[in-house]
């Protein structure tokens, strides 16, 4: 295969291999090439301790244990290892054991699940809530449960794979509008007249860190009477006066037909949740497969999550600290003349450009210096804007931020100039 680095995961989805148990032959040739293997070495690196801002990994690049500053985990508020959260999970482990041992409909609903779903519905100011054991499963299952063949599902082109997969599974026709462009959305809604329509947006777009232009989107959707589904995976607990998310930040919560959130990012656990009107939640319980055909979340995880919600909302101290850290990081990165795109959130890209080789050589050097900051390559982002993506956490200390920025300056800022 000539020029292996010009190929990517986008090129091997379709296969001609007559043996269904074998991947495409050229995929194996590609992925086993030493240069491609080197790129893939950044994936699946093992964390050897909690995803705190200072932790330890087993570094794939040289198979060594390495103490690192962690700018990659989504532990935005540090809740995954908060002492109160850990204590709550430990106590629930003693009382309930490890697993739920059943799907929610039959035997997997514990008092903890019911309590947490009620807390989340109240928090999001919706009538009811459905808890999923996976974030991806929540988005996919809600879309698949709501839409049917003959319906129209209109998504921002930068929406997450879980929303796209939900659309595919539902059988609805999917149309994508240009990112955050209300005119493009109006064009798609015009094509959908006479059909049942739902529009999906995200609070924070996860590769660029920009926010949904919610006021404009709502205006267009109102005009066409289209329902809005908002995915607040990267914004719940961080945005809005009460941490309810980007819809609260814009004062438009009442316009959101469905509000989705994940429990694996700011909440520090795992799972997803969908809040909406009580009738729709009741319907989803019958038709959303990842809820009614999957084991419920582990009780100790749910107990930890209940405590995480309490800790994050008892005051604004955690998100205030996170925003202070975000402001500091952004200022220093701009001072270094790095391209951080249009970020408005705790997700900060450092856009390198089109060179996959530079991206990987910087990634290698950064990690050797003790910074866990993962490269994001095409096709996850456009080929001309390969990048690193910083996840800022409230846990970061001044010393950790300064050391991380020193490494970024030495490797990326100076590397891009040379």
């Amino acid at each position: 295969m000539p020029d292996v680095l010009s190929y990517s995961l986008a090129d091997f989805f379709y296969t001609d291999n007559p043996d269904v148990l074998s991947p495409p032959e050229d995929f194996l040739e590609w992925i086993n090439h030493p240069r491609v293997r080197q790129c893939f070495s950044f994936f699946e690196q093992q964390l050897l301790a909690a995803p705190r801002t200072s932790t330890e990994i087993l570094s794939n690049i040289d198979n060594k244990r390495r103490k690192i500053i962690n700018l990659t985990s989504y532990n935005y508020l540090g809740l995954s290892s908060h002492p109160e959260v850990i204590q709550a999970a430990k106590e629930a482990l003693d009382q309930y054991g490890l697993g739920a041992s059943g799907a929610p409909l039959l035997s997997g609903t514990f008092d903890l699940h019911a309590r947490f779903a009620r807390m989340l519905a109240d928090f999001k100011q919706k009538e009811d809530c459905l808890l999923y054991s996976s974030g991806l499963g929540g988005n996919m299952g809600a879309i698949q449960g709501i839409l049917r063949k003959g319906d129209m599902f209109i998504l921002d082109e930068k929406c997450h794979k879980s929303l796209v997969d939900g659309g595919t599974l539902s059988g609805a026709k999917m149309l994508f509008f240009e990112h955050n462009n209300p005119d493009s959305l109006a064009m798609m809604l015009e094509k959908s007249r006479g059909k049942r329509v739902m529009v999906a947006v995200e609070g924070v777009y996860s590769m660029d860190g920009d926010l949904v232009k919610l006021k404009d989107i709502v205006e267009v959707c109102d005009q066409y009477k289209a329902a809005i589904y908002i995915d607040e995976a990267h914004s719940t607990l961080m945005f809005g006066p009460n941490g309810r998310g980007v819809a609260e930040h814009f004062g438009l919560e009442h316009k959101m037909g469905v509000s989705f959130g994940t429990l694996s990012k700011s909440f520090g656990g795992v799972g997803g949740f969908v809040c909406s009107n009580a009738d729709l939640i009741s319907y989803l319980k019958c038709y959303s497969s990842p809820w009614n055909f999957s084991c419920a979340s582990s009780p100790p995880v749910v107990a930890g999550l209940i405590k995480a919600l309490e800790v994050a909302t008892r005051d604004s101290s955690l998100r205030d600290k996170m925003w202070q850290n975000v402001a500091y990081f952004k200022k220093r990165l701009v001072d270094l003349k790095l391209d951080i795109g249009q970020t408005e959130s705790q997700v900060i890209p450092i856009i390198i450009g089109s060179s996959g080789e530079k991206l990987m050589s910087f990634a290698w050097e950064i990690q050797k210096r003790g910074l866990f900051l993962q490269p994001v390559d095409f096709p996850a982002v456009p080929a001309e804007s390969r990048r690193f993506r910083i996840s800022v956490s409230s846990q970061l200390t001044q010393a950790e931020m300064d050391e991380a920025l020193n490494i970024i300056e030495d490797v990326i800022a100076k590397g891009l100039k040379s």
Binding site: D3, S6, Y7, S8, A10, D11, F13, Y14, D16, D26, E157, V164, T168, K173, M174, L175, F176, K191, F378, P379, P382, A383, E384
Partner: protein, 81 residues
């Protein structure tokens, strides 16, 4: 292989993947988007066409293709190579 044949392959895959469309409706000077294709439909059409033509072009080289005619030109660079 002629460019006409390549365009025919692409057109056939477009009508396979999009509703309410006939081969004669498709103008190669237009983009698949003009016929209501979303990005997943386009990936499907391009991949199925490449498979039929027995060619493989890195997806990163297809980012700037503006219409069906340009896609056929790109395919022609690889056909019979």
């Amino acid at each position: 292989m002629t460019k006409e044949r390549v365009i025919e392959v692409i057109k056939n895959n477009i009508i396979e993947n999009l509703d309410d469309l006939e081969v004669d409706d498709i103008d190669p000077q237009k983009s698949m988007k003009d016929y209501g294709a979303n990005s997943l439909d386009m990936i499907e059409v391009v991949s199925c066409s490449m498979r039929e033509l027995k060619i493989k072009i890195p997806r990163s080289e297809l980012a700037d293709i503006a219409n069906i005619d340009h896609l056929a030109d790109k395919f022609m660079d690889y056909v019979d190579k």
